[in-house]
Symmetry: C2
Subunit: 342 residues, 2 copies
DNA sequence: CTGAAAGCGCTTACAG
DNA sequence: CTGAAAGCGCTTACAG
C-alpha cells in the first residue's frame, strides 16, 4: 500500500492538514520547526502526494489531451513526432501531464472526446487535422471546454489556433517549378474533408493563374497521405493523354510515392519530371534525388500551441490567440534546381 | 460546472447510489424501470462520470505511463513512433489511457518516475532504453510497482520483458557482409551505458571470430544514435591507416550519417564500401542507395508489451513474461547485394 | 430491488 | 501558528 498524508502526519506528530500546508507551500505560515519535522517524515517515508486525490479536491487535472488518429497502424500526420516532442516538453515545463489517446475508427472519435472532456480526464485538448463542420469543435465549443487547434477555422468559426500559411507554401512551390521551366503541373492534395486542403489548392491555383497557366482538374487528386496513395495518383496522371511534367504533393509521403511511380516509368526525377513535397520529413533529405519540399516549423508550433492552451486553462488571457506562420521552401534536387546551376 | 452523479439522481428521482449501480452495470440487480429512468436522465444531462473520482475511489487508475527521453529536441529512439502507435492502440482496446512524459534531462528522470509511481498517477509503466544498473528498475522493483521492459535485464535481474535478439541481428549482418566479400568491417555501436549495446557488439565479434577475422578495437565506436554521430564515427574510421571497407551501424540514423561521410570522400556505397543499419526506419528504404538494415518488429513488440503490463496490473498471470524475438535482415543495396546479382 | 453511509486521499476555509 | 471538519465525486459493503 502506498504511503499517505496521514502516515506522514502520524510520524511527524502533527495534524494531516499541516502536512498539506507544508507540501503546498501556500500562504499559510508554518513554523520552521514544524516544517522541518514534516519534511523529515516525508523523506523518511518517501511520501508522494496522491495526484488523483489532489486533482479531485482542487477541481483541476493539469493534464492535456492529444488524440491521434491511426489508419492501418500508421499515424495519419507525418509531423506528429515533432509535435509530440515539443508539446511534451512544454507540458513538462508547466507541470502538466500529456494524455495520449489513439483513435483507430472515426466512429469512436466522439466518444473518446466525451470521456476525456465530460469525465474531466483532461483540462484541455489540442486538436489536429481540422475538418469542415468538425464535430469535435462543435462539441468543445458547446461545452465551453479549453482547446487550441493546429489549423485555421472556417470563416464563421472563431477559436484559438496556430496555422501555417498553406496557400503561401503551395503558391511559392508552384512558382518555383514554373521558374525552373516546368509548365504542366499536377497537384496531389489532401483529403478533401480537411480544411487545410482548400487552402493549399487555392495557392496552387493562384500561382497558375498569375502565370497564365490553365487549371486542369484532371491534374488534381485528393488523397490520404500515404506513399501508396501518392504512387497511385501519379500513375494516374502519367497515364493521361497529356501527362504533367511536374507534380506538387501536399505531403512528403505522397511525394515519395509519386517519385517512385515516375521512376518506375523510367523517368528521371529532376530532369524529366519535377517533384515537390510538403512537411520536410527526414526521408525528404535522404531520398533520391533529395526532395524539394515545403517545411512547416512544427516544433515551434507545438510549443506555442501548448503554451496557449495552458494559459487558457489557467484562465489567463493568452499572449497570442490566432497565429499564421509562413512555411519555408527547402530547395533540393527533385525539381531540377541543380540542372539550372550547371 | 460539470454535471455530476447527484444531478442525474435528482432528475431520475432515485438515490445517487442507484445511478452508480446503473453505470457500473455490476452484479447488483436493478429493475428495468429504474434503469430506464436513470439512463434517460444520463442522456438528458449528457452525464459522464468523473474519471478522477472513480479512480480515487476504486484505487486504480487504468493509465499506463511511458517516459521518453529527448536530446536536443529529438527522440532518442528512432522506433518510438511504432511503439507509441501500438501501445496506444492496445491501451484503447483495454480501456486504458496512455500518459506520456518527456524527460529532457537525465537528472530529472528519477523525480518524474517518483511522481508518476508514488503519486499513483499511473498503474504501470513501460521502460525503454535499459541501462546497466538502471536506477529506474531498482526503484520500480523496490516499490513492487508493475512495469515491463523493452530489452533484456542484466544476468542477476529478473523482470518481464520483450527483446529482440540483437546479437543474432548483428551476427547475421556481419555474415552477410562477409559473404559479399567485405573483410574489414567497422562497428558503430550504441551508447555503452545501454545493455543492448553489449549484445550487439557480441554478435559482431562472434561473426568475425567464426570467420577467422581479427577484432580491431579501432574499428569500434559507441555513439548516441544521431546522424551526426554516425558521420563523425565513419569519418574517423576512414581516416585510419587501414580504413574499413564496410560498416555495421546500430541504428539507421547512424548508418545514414556513415553513408554521407563515405560519400563525401568520394566513395560509392555498395561498391567501394558496404553499409548496414539497424531498425528499418522509413528513410532506410528511400535513401540512396537503399539501406540494408536489421528490422525489429516494433509494432508487435509494443502490442505484446502493453498486453503483458495490463495483465500484471490486473493481477493476472501474464501469458508471456520474457520473450526474445528474432530480428530480420532486410537486404537492399547498400552493401552491394545488387552487385552480386549482376 | 433500493437507500443511507462510510471512505478513497487530499485542500482549504473556519475557528481557536 | 495549528487542528478539526467539510467536501471534491465517486463505489460498494451494509441494512432493509
Amino acid at each position: 500500500m502506498a504511503v499517505t498524508r496521514d502516515d506522514v502526519a502520524r510520524l511527524a506528530g502533527v495534524s494531516p492538514a499541516t502536512v498539506s500546508y507544508v507540501i503546498n507551500n501556500g500562504p499559510r505560515p508554518v513554523s520552521e520547526e514544524t516544517r522541518a519535522k514534516v519534511l523529515w517524515a516525508i523523506e523518511q517515508l518517501g511520501y508522494q502526494p496522491n495526484v488523483m486525490a489532489q486533482n479531485l479536491r482542487r477541481q483541476r487535472t493539469n493534464t492535456i489531451g492529444l488524440v491521434f488518429t491511426t489508419i492501418e497502424r500508421h499515424l495519419t500526420h507525418p509531423y506528429f513526432v515533432d509535435l509530440l516532442t515539443s508539446v511534451g516538453e512544454e507540458c513538462a515545463r508547466h507541470g502538466f501531464d500529456l494524455l495520449l489517446s489513439t483513435c483507430t475508427d472515426r466512429a469512436l472519435e466522439q466518444s473518446i472526446y466525451e470521456r476525456l472532456v465530460g469525465g474531466r480526464r483532461v483540462a484541455g485538448v489540442i486538436l489536429t487535422g481540422v475538418r469542415h463542420n468538425d464535430a469535435r469543435i462543435a462539441y468543445l465549443s458547446a461545452e465551453g471546454f479549453p482547446f487550441v487547434v493546429l489549423g485555421r477555422p472556417e470563416p464563421d468559426e472563431d477559436f484559438p489556433y496556430i496555422d501555417v500559411d498553406g496557400a503561401q507554401g503551395t503558391d511559392e512551390a508552384v512558382q518555383h517549378l514554373i521558374d525552373l521551366g516546368w509548365r504542366r503541373i499536377a497537384f496531389i492534395g489532401l483529403s478533401a474533408e480537411l480544411i487545410c486542403a482548400d487552402d493549399r489548392l487555392a495557392g496552387y491555383r493562384r500561382a497558375l493563374e498569375r502565370n497564365g497557366l490553365p487549371y486542369d482538374p484532371r491534374l488534381v487528386a485528393n488523397m490520404h497521405t500515404t506513399e501508396e496513395a501518392g504512387h497511385q495518383a501519379m500513375a494516374g496522371f502519367l497515364a493521361l493523354d497529356e501527362p504533367p511534367d511536374a507534380v506538387l504533393a501536399c505531403s512528403d509521403e505522397l511525394a515519395l510515392g509519386a517519385m517512385n511511380a515516375a521512376q518506375e516509368q523510367g523517368l528521371v526525377v529532376g530532369r524529366d519530371v519535377g517533384v515537390i513535397g510538403f512537411d520536410d520529413i527526414p526521408s525528404a533529405a535522404y531520398c533520391r534525388p533529395p526532395l524539394t519540399t515545403i517545411r512547416q516549423p512544427m516544433y515551434e508550433i507545438g510549443t506555442r500551441l501548448c503554451r496557449m492552451l495552458i494559459q487558457i486553462i489557467e484562465g489567463e488571457e493568452p499572449e497570442e490567440r490566432q497565429v499564421v506562420l509562413p512555411p519555408t521552401l527547402v530547395v533540393r534536387e527533385s525539381c531540377g534546381a541543380r540542372r539550372c546551376s550547371s
